[in-house]
C-alpha cells in the first residue's frame, strides 16, 4: 500500500505532501485566485501540496486536511463557526492575506455607524454584517501571509519551505528596503504620501514601483516608528484625514490609527 502523503523527492530525500484545504470568509477571494496564478509554476506548486478542499478550484472536498489556508475576515456568526471548525480540523492554520491577518479593507466599514452601512449596502434585506475581525481575534493562527492580495511568489516560497522543512519567515523590516533596492524615487520626494517606511516588506515594493504610495496592506513592520512617520507626513503638508485614510485602509495599523485619533481629540480639547 502506498503512503497517501508521498510527494516527490529532494536530493533523494522523500518529501511529505500535506493534505491542504483553502477557505474563504468575508473577502473578495482574490488571494485564492492569486494562489491559482503563475501558470508556469502551477503544476509543481500543486505537486507540493495535496489539495483536498478548494471551492474556487475544484468540486467536492473533505474535512480531512492538515493545513488550512483561510482568506477573509470574520463578520458573521456562521463565519465564526466555520473558522472554529476549521481550526479544530487543521494542524496548521494559515491566515491568507490582509483580511485574514488584520480584518483588511472590510474593516473600513467600522469607521461608520453599523446600522447606516448595512442599510446603505443591503437596504431592508435581512443581512447579518457585523464588525470585520481578523482570524486571530477568534482562533490561534500559526502563520500569516500578508498582502492585498498575497503575492504568489511569496506563497510559493512559503509552500516550498514547508515541503522542505525550512523555516518560514517574513521580513521584519519595512518596504523602504525593497524600494531603495529597486531604485525608485522616494514618493515623498514626489509629494505623495507613503506608508513604506513603516510597512512590512516582502511585496518587493509593488506599489511604489509604479509610483503609487504604499497603503500598508502588509501591516506594520516590526519596530515600526509609526508616530514619527505621522509627524513627517504632517510636516510634508499631508492632512490628518489623508494619514488616517492610509492607516485605516487595511486594518494592520488600526491600533496606531486609534492612538492618532485619540491624540487628535485630546489636542482639540
Amino acid at each position: 500500500m502506498t503512503d497517501r502523503n508521498a510527494g516527490g523527492t529532494f536530493l533523494g530525500v522523500p518529501l511529505y505532501r500535506p493534505r491542504t484545504a483553502f477557505f474563504e470568509l468575508a473577502s473578495c477571494e482574490g488571494c485564492q485566485l492569486q494562489v491559482l496564478n503563475n501558470e508556469a509554476t502551477l503544476a509543481p506548486f500543486l505537486g507540493l501540496l495535496e489539495i483536498v478542499n478548494f471551492r474556487e478550484a475544484m468540486t467536492g472536498g473533505t474535512d480531512d486536511y492538515e493545513i488550512a489556508f483561510v482568506e477573509g475576515s470574520v463578520s458573521r456568526k456562521d463565519e465564526e463557526d466555520l473558522l472554529k471548525e476549521i481550526r479544530g480540523n487543521a494542524r496548521v492554520l494559515v491566515a491568507l492575506g490582509s483580511c485574514a491577518c488584520f480584518g483588511g479593507v472590510n474593516r473600513l466599514k467600522d469607521r461608520f455607524d453599523p446600522d447606516w452601512t448595512r442599510k446603505t449596502v443591503y437596504g431592508e434585506a435581512p443581512v447579518e454584517s457585523g464588525r470585520a475581525r481578523p482570524l486571530e481575534d477568534l482562533v490561534a493562527v500559526d502563520l500569516k501571509i500578508y498582502g492585498c492580495p498575497v503575492k504568489k511568489e511569496e506563497v510559493e516560497k512559503v509552500v516550498t519551505n514547508i515541503a522542505l522543512g525550512k523555516a518560514v519567515v517574513s521580513p521584519k523590516y519595512p518596504v523602504c528596503m525593497e524600494c531603495k533596492a529597486n531604485e525608485n524615487i522616494c514618493l515623498f520626494d514626489l509629494g505623495e504620501p507613503c506608508l513604506g517606511p513603516v510597512t512590512r516588506a516582502g511585496c518587493d515594493s509593488w506599489c511604489p514601483n509604479s509610483r503609487a504610495g504604499c497603503w500598508g496592506c502588509r501591516g506594520p513592520a516590526e519596530d515600526a516608528n509609526v508616530e514619527q512617520l505621522e509627524k513627517i507626513m504632517q510636516e510634508h503638508g499631508f492632512a490628518q484625514e489623508t494619514i488616517l485614510d492610509r492607516l485605516e485602509c487595511f486594518g494592520g495599523f488600526a491600533r496606531f490609527a486609534e492612538a492618532f485619533r485619540r491624540r487628535r481629540r485630546e489636542g482639540a480639547e
Binding site: G8, T9, F10, L11, G12, T41, P44, F45, L48, E156, K157, V159, T160, N161, A163, L164, K166, K172, Y173, P174, C176, M177, K180, A181, E183, I185, C186, F188, D189, L190, G191, G196, P197, V198, A221, E222, D223, A224, N225, Q228, L229, I232
Partner: protein, 365 residues
C-alpha cells in the same frame, strides 16, 4: 610654447604612477564620450525626473548618448553602488537533478564598464571599500571582479549645502580613477592616471596646459572651497565617541529613527549584507542570494535562537556611527564616510551626520 607636461610622482598601491595633465576643449568632450561609448558600456549621471519642487532627480544609469549625461549634476539620490555592490546578487546557483547537484558560481561581470562623471566623494567611497573588499584579508571576489573592470572618469563639483566631504577627507580624489575633469570654463583640465585614459585621449584634440590654465585651475579649486557649508569636527572623534557611548543624545536620535535602512541603501560605502538560500518551487534549482542589509534594521544583530544584541533603535543607530567614525578609523585611519550627504538628504526623519556628531560633541541640536 615649448613646455614639458608637469609630472608629479606619488605612491599608489604597490607601484608608482605618473600624473599627466592636459587641457581638453569642451567641444571635444562629446567626441571623447563617443570614442568610449564605442568601446564599452557607459554609466553616467542622468536626470530621472523632477521632485515636487521641480528640482532634478539624478541617477546613475547606462547611456550611450552624451546629451543624456548631466555632467553638472548635484548628487545622485543613490550612489553607483549597484554596479559594484548590487542590492541583490546571486553568489551561487545550484542545479538539482535527482540525487545529484551542481554548483555554479558567477561573479556577474559580463564586460568592463565606463563610469563617466563620478564626483570625488564617490571615487573615494570606492577607495575606502577597496581597503576591506579588495585589499582586505579576505577579498570579496564578486566585488573585485567588478571593481577591476571599472574605468572611471571623475569630474569636479560644487559643494551642495549638505556636502561635508571636506571634513571626511574626501573632497579630492588622489587615486582610484583613470582620468579626472575639472571645469575651467571653455576647457576641462584633465588629470590622467592610466594608460587606458591616455590612449582614449589620443583620439581627441588636447593641449599642453599653460600657466594661464594652471591659474584657472587654482581659481576653480578655490571657488569650490568657498562653497562648503556643512562641516563635521572630527578632532579626537574616536575618543569622544568612546566617552559618549552612554550619551542621552543617542536615545533622542533613536526616537526619531524610522529603522527603515534607507541611510545604508543610499550610502556609497555601506557594504553589510545578509544571505538567503532559496529552492525553486519545482525543486530543480536553488540559489544563494546576497542582499545588502542595514545595521539599523531590527534583526541585524539577531542570532540563532532569536537573541537580539541590538533590539533598540538608538543602539542600532549608534553602532552605524561607531562603525563609520570610530571602528573604521581605528583600522584604516579614515572614516567609512565620504561626506556625500546622501543619508541626511534621504532620511525622512531628517537625521544628518553633521548634526548627530555635533550633538555627541555637545554642540547644537
Amino acid at each position: 610654447m615649448k613646455k614639458r607636461a608637469r609630472r608629479h610622482r606619488r605612491e599608489e598601491g604597490h607601484g608608482r604612477t605618473d600624473m599627466i595633465f592636459r587641457t581638453l576643449g569642451k567641444a571635444e568632450l562629446p567626441k571623447l564620450f563617443g570614442v568610449m561609448a564605442a568601446g564599452g558600456k557607459i554609466v553616467a549621471p542622468v536626470e530621472a525626473g523632477r521632485d515636487r519642487e521641480n528640482r532634478p532627480v539624478y541617477v546613475f544609469r547606462e547611456t550611450a548618448r552624451f546629451e543624456e549625461a548631466a555632467l553638472s549634476y548635484t548628487t545622485t539620490k543613490l550612489p553607483a553602488k549597484r554596479y559594484f555592490l548590487p542590492y541583490r546578487e546571486d553568489l551561487a546557483t545550484f542545479r538539482i537533478e535527482g540525487d545529484d547537484w551542481q554548483k555554479l558560481v558567477d561573479y556577474n561581470v559580463d564586460r568592463p564598464r565606463i563610469f563617466f562623471g563620478l564626483h570625488p566623494c564617490d571615487i573615494n567611497a570606492l577607495n575606502r571599500l577597496d581597503k576591506v573588499l579588495l585589499n582586505g584579508v579576505y577579498p570579496m571576489p564578486y566585488y573585485v571582479a567588478k571593481r577591476k573592470n571599472m574605468f572611471i572618469v571623475g569630474i569636479d563639483c560644487l559643494p551642495q549645502p549638505y556636502c561635508f566631504c571636506r571634513s571626511m577627507g574626501a573632497d579630492t580624489a588622489l587615486h582610484g580613477f583613470d582620468m579626472f575633469l575639472t571645469d575651467l570654463g571653455d576647457d576641462y583640465f584633465v588629470e590622467i592616471l592610466s594608460d587606458t585614459a591616455y590612449n582614449f585621449l589620443r583620439c581627441v584634440r588636447t593641449s599642453e596646459p599653460g600657466e594661464d590654465d594652471h591659474a584657472r585651475y587654482m581659481k576653480a579649486v578655490s571657488r569650490k572651497n568657498d562653497k562648503f557649508i556643512a562641516h563635521v569636527d572630527t578632532t579626537d572623534l574616536t575618543k569622544i565617541l568612546d566617552m559618549e557611548f552612554q550619551s542621552e543624545v543617542w536615545k533622542q536620535w533613536g526616537d526619531r529613527c524610522l529603522a527603515c535602512g534607507t541611510c545604508a541603501n543610499v550610502c556609497p560605502t555601506c557594504y553589510c549584507y545578509g544571505v538567503e538560500e532559496t529552492v525553486s518551487v519545482d525543486l530543480g534549482s536553488a540559489r544563494k542570494t546576497k542582499t545588502l542589509y542595514s545595521c539599523n534594521l531590527l534583526d541585524f544583530a539577531e542570532v540563532a535562537g532569536g537573541h537580539n544584541f541590538r533590539p533598540e533603535r538608538h543602539v542600532r543607530l549608534k553602532y552605524r556611527y561607531y562603525h563609520k567614525h570610530r571602528g573604521f578609523v581605528e583600522a584604516y585611519e579614515e572614516p567609512l564616510c565620504v561626506g556625500c550627504g546622501r543619508c541626511g538628504e534621504s532620511c525622512l526623519a531628517g537625521i544628518t551626520v553633521p548634526e548627530v556628531i555635533a550633538s555627541v560633541r555637545g554642540e547644537g541640536a
